[in-house]
């Protein structure tokens, strides 16, 4: 599903200056634990998180996650957005809760990642 469609479903607003709405996302992973993201997330996966510190950008970048959604209308600090722009990772924000964000995306056909080794 394209990032633009995800934004429409989540009624999300862009946080980075330049957003590529055509980024294609097949799956999503929701977490407030970055080590879980690092352990399990696959490239091409959308990150859904309630945290906003700069290490969220680093984590997404290490795993090759192409976009990040912040839930509950939490706006990240400036350094987070600046690094996201520098690394070219689109950041969007929705006022929906983590649960609703996951729920609507799942309903729209976004897949969970597979944890084959657990």
């Amino acid at each position: 599903m394209l990032l633009g469609d995800i934004m429409r479903i989540l009624e999300a607003e862009p946080l980075s200056q330049e957003i590529n709405f055509d980024v294609d996302l097949l799956s999503a992973f929701a977490a407030d634990l970055m080590s879980d993201v690092l352990a399990l997330a696959r490239p091409g996966t959308l990150m859904i998180t309630g945290l906003t510190n700069i290490q969220i950008v680093r984590t997404a970048s290490m795993v090759d996650m192409p976009a990040v959604v912040f839930v509950r209308g939490k706006k990240p600090p400036r350094e987070t957005i600046e690094l996201a722009e520098k690394l070219g990772i689109p950041f969007i924000m929705t006022s929906k809760t983590m649960f609703e964000t996951c729920g609507v995306l799942y309903q729209a056909g976004i897949k969970p990642i597979r944890c084959l080794d657990r």
Partner: protein, 147 residues
């Protein structure tokens, strides 16, 4: 792969500062960009950057800062993280998923799940940890360029 024909081993290293969360991760990003520019395939770049990032965060959070180095030679990438912090009393305990001594303010940032060392093990082909309590630790992780 371009890198396999290289004769001289390629080495870079960076210093990381204790509890500097704004800069933490720069080393891993830097190594990843370097590997990409050397033509290493994305899956290997990803493994190396996750290993570096977890080791870097550990040096920043637990190790009182340190030095992280990456060597690319022949068929492997070797990542060495060295610090002179408190070291680890019981390495096999620290290697267990969920074991963490991270304080609350670290947990609030999304770290301290006790998953870092297990992640390093998961994404590397060889792993050695040398540590002496009170003197620091050296972590050496190897990632093969081919399976």
């Amino acid at each position: 792969m371009k890198s396999l024909s290289r004769q001289e081993p390629f080495v870079i290293q960076r210093e990381v500062k204790p509890l500097d969360f704004l800069s933490a991760g720069e080393t891993a990003s830097d190594f990843k960009e370097t590997l990409k520019s050397l033509g290493i395939i994305p899956e290997i770049c990803r493994k190396a950057s996750i290993v570096t990032y977890e080791a870097e965060m550990n040096a920043v959070i637990h190790g009182g800062g340190g030095v992280i180095a990456m060597e690319l030679s022949g068929d492997r990438i070797t990542i060495v993280a060295k610090d002179e912090g408190p070291g680890i009393e019981n390495v096999s305990l620290a290697m267990q998923e969920g074991y963490s001594t991270a304080p609350d303010f670290i947990r609030e940032m999304g770290f301290g799940a006790g998953m870092g060392l297990p992640n390093i093990k998961k994404y590397s082909d060889e792993l050695e940890i040398e540590t002496e309590p009170g003197k620091g630790m050296t972590l050496r992780a190897v990632i093969y360029l081919r399976d």
